[in-house]
Symmetry: C2
Subunit: 209 residues, 2 copies
DNA sequence: GTGGACAACATTGTTCACAATTGTGCGGGG
DNA sequence: CCCCGCACAATTGTGAACAATGTTGTCCAC
């Protein structure tokens, strides 16, 4: 239940600030109002929806400032994970990382923005998995969920792939070289660049898809 | 409601792995079963209790490994906050930081473990506030909540204050000097030392209070 | 035309009873 | 003596009704 609603929000089925009426969700997802209620409570503590007493729930709109804050925290935590990944990566992990890096190169060369965006998610997710840091994984999942909209806008920004590609490659290289400090530094540099780019794409209309 | 149960858990009124029966909590806190239910859902997503379908809730026992993971993430995020705090601290903030540092010195000199533990919380909390990073603040609140037990054990460990005091002083100094890099480094060094100390105090019986 | 009291409506909060599921003790058979 | 099935107790999940609250629209005085 909660997953269904969460997916719907992150997928963009519900616009930011849109009201989430319990009865409507109850019908749409074919569940009791109680179940919907619990799901909304959970999503509220996850930061995806806002709930105010007697006035119901609405999907939370994260401002530019919040998006920057979130990315700052991501910078710190994913930096940690990159360092851990550099320490723990097996040969199989490294092969997988290089595989993604290679696909990223061809995607950017071919101008395939959507594939690159998917590879981006896979790369960050793989670094997390290799790091073995479950706590960091949970923290980042929550943060990422709140940020999907800004993330999406950034991915669609023209010229963005060509600046982020070398950063991604540097991350992969550092992890494969088993250099934790370099991996952390590369990840922080990458997300630092995301932070700088966020204000530029803020307010961009989402047309594609 | 949720605050009452959360406090009870962090205070230690409920032991780890203890079952939390809805009816019992309902009576103890004088609230409807529905309210208790919602509170448990929220506490579950906060990571304080575990809930399994049709089997109820129990307070989550965090293992030593998890405690270390949590502290690693804290190291990354609080490092970020220390750096931000060094950039943003006003004169009033700095005065407050130095005040706490001074009180820490006298507490350690006088062997007042409990006061020192309280000051420790206040210091970390103040750094967070000064950093102005609300997202980091929320993340850390959650993590700290899961870790209270280990944190508490560590605070009671004999000889611990004398090793952590200079680290705390270094943090305050770096922030007051307006040196973000040094502040981040000092905070990371401090929490790194916590990580090293955690295994030593693991399994210690909690007698005092 | 504007603002305020008031009523009708919509939505959430709460309670209750009951259904569904799981844990437990008991007895019988191997 | 141990293991399996069965009934019963304990507990959670769910649905419906009702209460409480907030929102919207209307009417009337000014």
């Amino acid at each position: 239940m909660v997953d269904a609603i969460r997916d719907a929000i992150t997928r963009g089925d519900f616009a930011p600030d849109q009201r989430l009426v319990e009865a409507e969700l109850s019908e749409r997802f074919d569940a009791g109002r109680g179940a919907v209620r619990n799901a909304l409570v959970q999503l509220a503590t996850e930061g995806l929806v806002e709930r105010v007493q007697n006035r119901g729930a609405r999907v939370r709109a994260v401002s530019l400032d919040e998006a920057i804050e979130i990315t700052e925290v991501r910078m710190a935590v994913e930096g940690l994970c990159a360092a851990r990944a550099a320490d723990r990566a097996t040969d199989a992990d490294k092969a997988e990382l290089r595989e993604i890096a290679e696909q990223m190169r061809t995607a950017v060369a071919g101008g395939d923005v959507w594939s690159y965006s998917e590879l981006n998610k896979r790369l960050h997710s793989l670094v997390l998995r290799v790091s073995g840091q479950r706590t960091a994984h949970e923290v980042l999942s929550r943060l990422r969920g709140q940020n999907v909209r800004h993330q999406f806008r950034l991915a669609l920004h023209p010229g963005r792939p060509s600046v982020s590609l070398p950063q991604h490659l540097a991350i992969v290289d550092a992890i494969c070289a088993g250099d934790p400090a370099a991996a952390e530094q590369a990840m922080r540099a990458h997300l630092g660049s995301v932070i700088e780019a966020l204000p530029e794409v803020d307010g961009t209309r989402i047309t594609a898809l």
